[in-house]
Each structure stands twice: as structure tokens, then as C-alpha cells.
């Protein structure tokens, strides 16, 4: 895991059609559609463990902005860590280069499943047990 700030560099973006193929292989329950403004949207359900609810999740890729992953249902409990102001999940520290447009979307969705797993563990234990970037090193 990267712990120091990585130099920024341009990556070869994966075209949406390859994300569609990748998602069909790894998360066949997810559906793809093109939303207003040319935003590519994949939506489907994730169930991180046997006893979990089926979370309705939406992953959005728009232009060159960061990807956004939302949990649409059931509503997440207030006060949970690691979300952006718009409610999307903060799945990695941006400067770590954990995920970028050159990587398959299925990895981002897998990170969302991991996030949900830690969310459920947080509900159970009251502690966020997942790996965290120290706060104060940037803006999440």
C-alpha cells in the first residue's frame, strides 16, 4: 500500500465499453445506462456477507472527474465515516492512486463491497476496522 504521495501522471483511460464487458464478467447483476450529461452509470446490488441486506449501489463515471459510488438503499446510518459531502463513498485516499481511469471498474465496485463490509462491522462494533489514511493529510 502506498503511504507516500505519488507523482501524478496521465493514465490511459479504459473506454466505457470495456468497463461494460468487465462488469458483465465480475458483477453480472449490475446494469449499465448512459444518464444525462454523458454520465456512465452502473447500478446493482451488493451483499457483503450472508446476513447483510442487499445494498442498491450506483457507480458513476463522468468526464474526467472522480468516480462517484452511492448507496441508494437502504439508507446508511448517519455519522458513518468515509463519505464525501454529496453522500458518495470515499473508497481510497485520492493521492494513493488506488483506483484511476486506467483500472477496471470492477475493482472500484469491489472496493465499495469492502467499504460496506466495514460499514457493517462498524454497526456491530462501533469501530471502523478498515485501513484509513490519517486525517489531516488531504481532503477526503
Amino acid at each position: 500500500m502506498a503511504s507516500t504521495k505519488l507523482p501524478k501522471f496521465r493514465v490511459q483511460q479504459i473506454p466505457p465499453v470495456r468497463h461494460v464487458v468487465d462488469m458483465r464478467r465480475h458483477f453480472p447483476g449490475f446494469a449499465y445506462h448512459k444518464a444525462q450529461g454523458g454520465v456512465s452509470v452502473w447500478s446493482g446490488t451488493l451483499q457483503p456477507s450472508d446476513g447483510s441486506p442487499q445494498y442498491v449501489v450506483e457507480a458513476q463515471l463522468a468526464g474526467h472527474g472522480r468516480p462517484r459510488v452511492f448507496v441508494r438503499r437502504p439508507a446508511l446510518v448517519g455519522g458513518v465515516r468515509h463519505r464525501y459531502a454529496d453522500g458518495s463513498l470515499c473508497l481510497y485516499y485520492p493521492d494513493d492512486g488506488t483506483w484511476h481511469r486506467g483500472r477496471p471498474l470492477s475493482e472500484l465496485v469491489a472496493l465499495a463491497a469492502e467499504w460496506l463490509w466495514f460499514y457493517e462491522a462498524w454497526l456491530l462494533t462501533g469501530r471502523w476496522l478498515g485501513p484509513e489514511a490519517p486525517h489531516g493529510i488531504g481532503k477526503g
Binding site: 447483476g29 446490488t45 470515499c90 485520492p94 469492502e114 466495514f118 456491530l124 489514511a133 486525517h135
Partner: protein, 350 residues
């Protein structure tokens, strides 16, 4: 059905002997080996001593208390009576350098040594190994006043082969079976010996009566109980008999001394565990499955909160995979449809 793989991995991890006891076992063996090599009361030949038993086969669980040590005496030594050789071995072990409290007791085939300062027991067995220690050996049998064939190192090699050809599932299965036995049959004198269970499981896997392909730990354990039930059922129905379980390396019956009353207790506990395991596998709610598996394996089967810590550790170590439904499981991806998420650090206060 809830396979609960993380729970079983945690169970297997928690019944592993502690590093401290493993080191104590190595120290105790090293001490005896060095002493016997230097001692001229009982001559020994290379490799002088070697470890045998469950510790050597990696089937030991929890607190290792006993270690079997083979002492190789020269070829032709079987012309001495078992009693003479065991007496010589006992004499040669009387003074161990740096050990203050040694208690020695002659047994049928070995000298039992208690090392109080190590909290350890060693069964030290003299062997004649005409073809090397990994082949059939001759060991003394004092009550019968003869040397008999044994092949502990050969059996260990056979078990290693069987384990490897079954996806490394046989040794963990043996450990789970021992954990169940220790949970429900606490009296040392009445519970079936570990070696009997090992030989029975070895035979059932080797004969194909227990299959391992594609099975999770819970189903594998239940199927093993069921196969053991079938294996012993015939003897159980008769009023006087016990099952004849063979040592896979020598084809000798190892269960001849199993007392009928103890065997009946074993079968009663086995039926009980089979019922719980069936219900655990069929349970609709994971909590019900966990509660039933805890009945089978005791408190070492993790509860819900322990599970969270267990998976969190695996995730932090990057050892998880996400399946097509989003299920997060411990272990690296073995199927093309699973995804291993990249190592990450979550960020942001929300």
C-alpha cells in the same frame, strides 16, 4: 446455507499450537537428542533421534503437552529383549544436563519422560531402523516380549501426500475432529486416541468415502462425521464390539484396546454433533448456524464480533476477494469471476 468460511478459518487458527509451546517442544527434543548422542549407556546411530507423533505431522492442536521422540539404536539390537532395551534407555536418560526435575516411567513401548520445568512430556521410543527411519521400524513391545513393526515416519509421509492431493484439507479436518472430541469428551482416559481418529479419517478419505472437492469446511466436517458414523455403525449395532481401524502404514488394527463403553460414548457424541452440523448447514439465519457450530466446537468457534476482527485483519492484509454478489470472503481469488480489490486506505470524515 451459510458456509461461514471466515469462522472456520478463525477456528483453525485459534486451535493451532502456540509458538511458545512449539519452541518448548523443539527445546525438549534438542535436549534429549544432545544427551543421547553423548551418552554411552545406550548406543545410538544417525540420525540418533527424530520427532514423530502429531507434533511432527502438524495435526497437534492447542497446548502441545506430549512429543514422541524416536531413538535409533544399532541394527541387530532387537536381539535384546524389549525390557532390557527400555531399562537401558531409562538409565541413559537419568541425568540430563541443565534439567533439575526429570521423572521417568517405563511404558509398553517407550520411556515416558516428564520435564517439569518445560511443562512437557516426552514418549521416547527406541527403534531399530534397518532400512532407515522413514521405513518400517522395529519397536519393543514389553508385555509381549517381542519387537513389533511400526512405521510412524512412513505414515507421516503418507498423510502429507494425502493432504496435498486433497487441497490441504485433510490435516485441518483432523484438527477440527480433535477439537470436537476435546470439547465433548474431556476425560483423557475415555476419549478416543488422536491416532485412532487420524487413521479412521485417513482411511475414509483415501477410500473416497469422504470427498473434499469443492466443499467448504462445514460441509466437509459434517460429511466426515457422517462417514465415521457409517464406518463405526456396524460395530455399534453389535453389543460387544468396537470398530477395527487400521494403521494405514502397517495395516495393523490400532483400536483393539478401545473399551466398548468409551466407544458407545463416542458414538453418542458423534450422533449429537452430526445433528447439530446438519442443522447448522441448513440454518436460514447465520446467527443460528454460528450458535450450532459453537455447540460442536465450543467457544473456540468464533462469535459474531470476533468474526468482524478476523475479516478486518484479512482485508488489511490484502487477502480477500469479492464475488459477483458483492460477498466479501477471506482468501485470494480462486475463481475468474471474483475480484481482489486493490489495497486501499479509506479517507474522509463524511
Amino acid at each position: 446455507m451459510h458456509a461461514l468460511p471466515e469462522y472456520f478459518e478463525k477456528l483453525l487458527s485459534s486451535i493451532e499450537p502456540s509458538e511458545e509451546r512449539v519452541i518448548a517442544a523443539q527445546d525438549a527434543h534438542g535436549l534429549v537428542r544432545k544427551h543421547l548422542q553423548a551418552c554411552d549407556v545406550l548406543p545410538t546411530v544417525a540420525p540418533h533421534t527424530c520427532l514423530a507423533g502429531s507434533y511432527d505431522r502438524h495435526t497437534a492442536i492447542n497446548d502441545i503437552k506430549d512429543v514422541d521422540v524416536l531413538v535409533r539404536v544399532p541394527d541387530g539390537y532387537e536381539s535384546n529383549t524389549p525390557a532390557e532395551v527400555l531399562q537401558l534407555l531409562k538409565s541413559s536418560l537419568r541425568k540430563l544436563d541443565g534439567v533439575t526435575e526429570v521423572e521417568l516411567r517405563e511404558q509398553r513401548r517407550s520411556v515416558h519422560m516428564t520435564l517439569a520445568q518445560y511443562d512437557f512430556h516426552l514418549d521416547i521410543v527406541p527403534v531399530v531402523a534397518a532400512n532407515g527411519v522413514d521405513c518400517a521400524l522395529k519397536v519393543p513391545d514389553k508385555p509381549h516380549q517381542q519387537w513389533v513393526t511400526s512405521n510412524p515416519i512412513g505414515y507421516a509421509a503418507m498423510l502429507t501426500d494425502l493432504n496435498q492431493s486433497h487441497g490441504e484439507k485433510v490435516v485441518p479436518l483432523i484438527k477440527m475432529m480433535k477439537q470436537w472430541r476435546d470439547t465433548h469428551m474431556r476425560q483423557r482416559s475415555s476419549k478416543p486416541k488422536s491416532y485412532w481418529l487420524e487413521c479412521m479419517l485417513y482411511g475414509l478419505v483415501n477410500d473416497g468415502r469422504i470427498t473434499t472437492d469443492g466443499k467448504g469446511w462445514g460441509v466437509l466436517f459434517r460429511d466426515a462425521l457422517s462417514a465415521m458414523r457409517d464406518r463405526c455403525g456396524h460395530a455399534y449395532e453389535k453389543t460387544e464390539s468396537v470398530p477395527s481401524i487400521e494403521d494405514p502404514a502397517t495395516n495393523k488394527i490400532v483400536t483393539a484396546k478401545w473399551e466398548r463403553a468409551h466407544f458407545e460414548t463416542f458414538m453418542e457424541r458423534l450422533d449429537e454433533a452430526l445433528g447439530w452440523s446438519d442443522r447448522a448447514i441448513e440454518a436460514e439465519e447465520p446467527d443460528d448456524a454460528i450458535m450450532l457450530w459453537r455447540k460442536v466446537f465450543g467457544d473456540q468457534f468464533p462469535a459474531e464480533e470476533q468474526k468482524a476482527e478476523t475479516i478486518a485483519e484479512a482485508i488489511r492484509a490484502g487477502a480477500i476477494a469479492v464475488g459477483p454478489t458483492g460477498r466479501v470472503s477471506v482468501g485470494t481469488s480462486s475463481s475468474g469471476s471474483q475480484v481482489q480489490p486493490p489495497p486501499t486506505r479509506f479517507y474522509g470524515d463524511g
